[in-house]
Symmetry: C2
Subunit: 84 residues, 2 copies
């Protein structure tokens, strides 16, 4: 989300954030809702500070990314082997 | 990262976090390094608080996840159509 085409204000764990991106406002709001949901879930389970909750949320999404990437790469590799 | 098989202390933006997960310590450290890198990058570019940087980092990873998921689903759909 590097360019400035869309500028949308989202609310995450009671705090407003202005997010800029190339995607639609709807897409950015959906992302914010996912992050908000995960942060609320992690903050309910523990006595962590908001920063700690946000960092753990980032770790959770980074983990999810790695797993999908791996799955995607395995599928691509399988197809490559099949097509060669 | 729900279960407690691995317990590893990582350092993210100068703060220590104890992360528990089912993956290897190496995998968790790699994830933490990715989050740390993104947080340092975002905090260099702005006058944001650590919480804001962490939330924006979570949003960035959530965005990356969505894009890989979409790519993966499109590939699966394409294969499904081809194989039917």
């Amino acid at each position: 989300m590097a360019d400035n085409k869309t500028r949308v204000t989202v609310n995450i764990l009671g705090q407003e954030y202005v997010v800029r991106g190339t995607e639609t406002a709807e897409y950015i709001k959906d992302l914010a809702a996912k992050v908000d949901r995960k942060m609320r879930q992690l903050s309910e389970d523990s006595a962590l500070t908001t920063t700690q909750v946000a960092v753990l949320t980032a770790l959770n999404f980074a983990d999810e990314c790695e797993k999908i990437k791996k799955e995607h790469q395995e599928l691509l590799k399988m197809l490559e082997e099949e097509w060669n």
